[in-house]
């Protein structure tokens, strides 16, 4: 097995060297080209305005990537039909990162070497954190549709996102626990993942503020872990009726929830935006386990606001299914770029960055109306959604509550 690792490592090194070579050569040509070559390059590629999209289109979290790139495609189709941005037609260059940091960096380098300076991506915080540093170095703008870890955006950088940060998400969950009357809670999280452990930290911090006691904390080692029975047995022994379990849909659906119920844990399980698309990954026989489960999301497809209903109708029309929250944030990312490019009057990355950094601009999006804070993260609330067993082997969703940004302050 060591041999396999050596081989894989060698392969990764070769690939990353190749990738570095690519960006280095474009970097070295940049100084000479600053005034001359770069402008014609964008003009040459340029009857179209290119936006890169990096998302996990294959692999364990493929449902996320599918949502993001279909949402972005829908937005681009609408924009192009309405005459484009600043008179230019928009073209998406879509790459797959399989939710893997290395793949994400490779995709990023590939886009940069094509001269693309505006990027949407990626879905997971783990993958996105691999490209935030390089994006600042290369002065490339990134709008992350759903990377929620607090560390993704910082002040004075090129990174923005259209989703709230995990500190907000954890606070919403804690506020929900408080209003539902739980003063003792447990946490089960993945110690080997940025997203899951970040949410655990923000949830426990918010609990401390709310005066909720975290009486039991259990973890799993990696996202590939399949066994969660012991963790939930510990929750039962600790006597808690509310467990915060921030995981992704690919383990929530087949493993975490059925095993939690089998271990005798019947209380509330609360999660975050990673729970989106879970109903597609549940065995029919496990459907009865999916009651008493709550999670925070970016938007609710059943929302009756005009913005959401027209988006859902257009998406269904084009792709034949209801858009996930990832579809909504992918769609929103394109429109935020459109607003910023129009405000800047050009698609030059530095100018777009400055336009995005203006915290007074209000964006009216499917996933809420918001403006950015100084770090580039939206200030907005979140819907709290619950799963319910439909009784026929399928799982439905219901809106429980909408927590506004002002409620949290």
């Amino acid at each position: 097995m060591k041999k396999l690792f050596c081989l894989l490592l060698a392969l990764c090194m070769v690939l990353s060297l190749a990738a570095c070579g690519g960006s280095a050569s474009s970097g070295s040509s940049a100084p000479a080209a600053d005034s001359g070559e770069e402008a014609p390059a964008s003009a040459a590629s340029g009857d179209t305005l290119k936006i890169g999209v990096i998302s996990p289109n294959t692999g364990n979290l493929a449902a996320y990537g599918t949502g993001i790139h279909t949402g972005a495609e829908l937005a681009v189709e609408e924009i192009n039909a309405a005459g484009g941005i600043l008179g230019q037609q928009v073209e998406l260059v879509e790459l797959d990162d399989r939710a893997d940091p290395t793949e994400c960096l490779n995709a990023f380098n590939n886009l940069v070497s094509q001269g693309i300076g505006l990027i949407i991506g990626s879905a997971t915080s783990g993958a996105t954190s691999a490209i935030t540093g390089p994006a600042n170095e290369e002065e490339v703008v990134i709008i992350a549709p759903t990377a929620t870890a607090d560390s993704i955006t910082t002040e004075d950088d090129y990174i923005f996102r259209v989703c709230y940060a995990d500190s907000a998400q954890g606070a919403i969950a804690a506020a929900y626990a408080k209003t539902a009357g739980f003063d003792k809670v447990g946490i089960v999280y993945c110690a080997g993942d940025v997203y899951s452990s970040g949410l655990k930290d923000s949830f426990s911090a918010a609990c401390a503020e709310q005066g909720i006691e975290v009486v039991a904390t259990e973890s799993s080692a990696a996202l590939t872990t399949t066994e969660y029975t012991n963790q939930f047995t510990a929750m039962v022994n600790a006597g808690v009726d509310f467990v915060y379990a921030p995981y992704y849909y690919d383990v929530i659906g087949p493993y975490v929830i059925p095993q939690a119920r089998a271990a005798g844990y019947d209380g509330v399980i609360m999660g975050a935006d990673g729970y989106d698309t879970t109903p597609d990954y549940v065995r029919e026989a496990d459907a009865p386990a999916f009651n008493n489960i709550y999670w925070t999301n970016h938007y609710f497809a059943g929302d009756t606001s005009e913005k959401v209903t027209s988006f859902v109708a257009a998406y269904k029309d084009k792709f034949g299914s209801e858009p996930s929250a990832f579809g909504a944030t992918g769609y929103d990312s394109v429109y935020v770029y459109k607003a910023a490019i129009e405000a800047a009057g050009s698609a030059d990355p530095a100018a777009v960055r400055d336009a995005l950094a203006d915290t007074s601009t209000v964006y009216e999006c499917v996933s809420g109306t918001f403006s950015f804070d100084v770090s580039g993260t939206p200030v907005k609330g979140a819907p709290v959604i619950t799963f319910k067993d439909n009784g026929d082997g399928t799982i439905g969703m219901e809106l429980v509550d909408v927590v506004e940004a002002s409620d949290l302050a």
Partner: protein
């Protein structure tokens, strides 16, 4: 006490899957001294075969687990095919090292081939319920039917396999080839047939392991084999690679250690402890728990 029993059950059900997979590694290693890295991927092949044949089997009015018969057939064919097309020619011309690299290549080939098939694709699939849902309670401990069935079937298969290698002519032939190929040839044993038979049995076990795995953990994806393969390989080495009871023991040791670490030490240390145990055992007993230290004949 109930936590203790629950922990043992979880350990046994993890261990029974590891043990079944470890058997495949150990059988092939025992006979041709090759670590068959593609073995984990045979499980993936078996898993997808089960997913695709379950609707067919249900339509015929049979229970869902009967799909394992198709998976056994497909896996045995894939295993024998791998041996005939890839391993045997390389073994004849190359060294042990080139055979090992071929095994790695075969593993990556199978994973990527599966992704390229449109019906499989790179996205995970969720399997249907395979055994009767539900369970029974003794005290405060829940025994799920699926878990009980998994442990029982694994135990039965291991005993049958052990009897097969000890008591039957074919099993004896396998042990002979494993000990000394040229002497086995002189005794009139067809070495190539015996090796192919080993691959067929090892791969068929992978199909059964796939059924057991999917009954417990109903998600399957193309790189499943490498994730599961590592732990199973560790189990085989821990128990003493090449020794059938050793693989079983190793599987249960790894499963139980994983479960007990999760319950009583720290759940995020489960994997670290498993690999630490491997290092400690190999330091104390380099041939594995059941391995015999055979001195080199000079």
């Amino acid at each position: 006490m109930s936590t203790f029993i629950q922990t043992v059950i979880v350990g046994l059900r993890l261990g029974s899957v590891y043990a079944l997979i470890a058997l495949g590694y150990t059988m092939v290693y025992g006979i041709i001294r090759l670590i068959n890295f593609a073995h984990g991927d045979f499980i993936m092949v078996g898993g997808y075969t089960i997913i695709f044949t379950v609707p067919l089997v249900l339509a015929l009015g049979l229970p869902a687990w009967a799909a394992v018969l198709a998976a056994v057939a497909v896996c045995a064919l894939v295993g024998m095919g791998t041996e005939i097309i890839a391993y045997r020619p390389v073994r004849k011309k190359g060294t042990n090292m080139s055979a090992l690299i071929t095994a790695i290549a075969m593993s990556l080939f199978l994973e990527n081939l599966a992704q390229a098939i449109p019906a499989i694709g790179p996205n995970p699939k969720v399997a249907d319920q395979i055994f009767t849902a539900g369970g029974f309670k003794i005290g405060s401990v829940t025994f799920e039917y699926t878990t009980v069935i998994t442990i029982v079937i694994s135990a039965v298969i291991m005993i049958v396999l052990y009897m097969f290698t000890q008591k039957t002519r074919l099993g004896r032939a396998m042990r002979c080839v494993s000990e000394d190929k040229s002497a086995a040839t002189l005794m009139g044993i067809n070495v190539n047939h015996t090796i192919i038979l080993t691959f067929a049995i090892g791969s068929a076990l992978a199909a059964v392991a796939a059924l057991m795995y999917m009954a417990q953990y109903p998600r399957i994806y193309t790189t499943l084999g490498s994730d599961l393969g590592i732990k199973a390989f560790v189990s085989a080495v821990l128990g003493g690679i090449g020794i059938i009871p050793g693989a079983v023991l190793g599987g249960f040791v790894v499963g139980l250690f994983e479960s007990f670490t999760t319950s009583y030490i720290s759940s995020s240390l489960a994997d670290a402890v498993v690999f630490l145990i491997l290092i400690v055992v190999l330091l104390l007993k380099p041939a594995g728990i059941m391995g015999k230290n055979v001195g080199e004949k000079v």
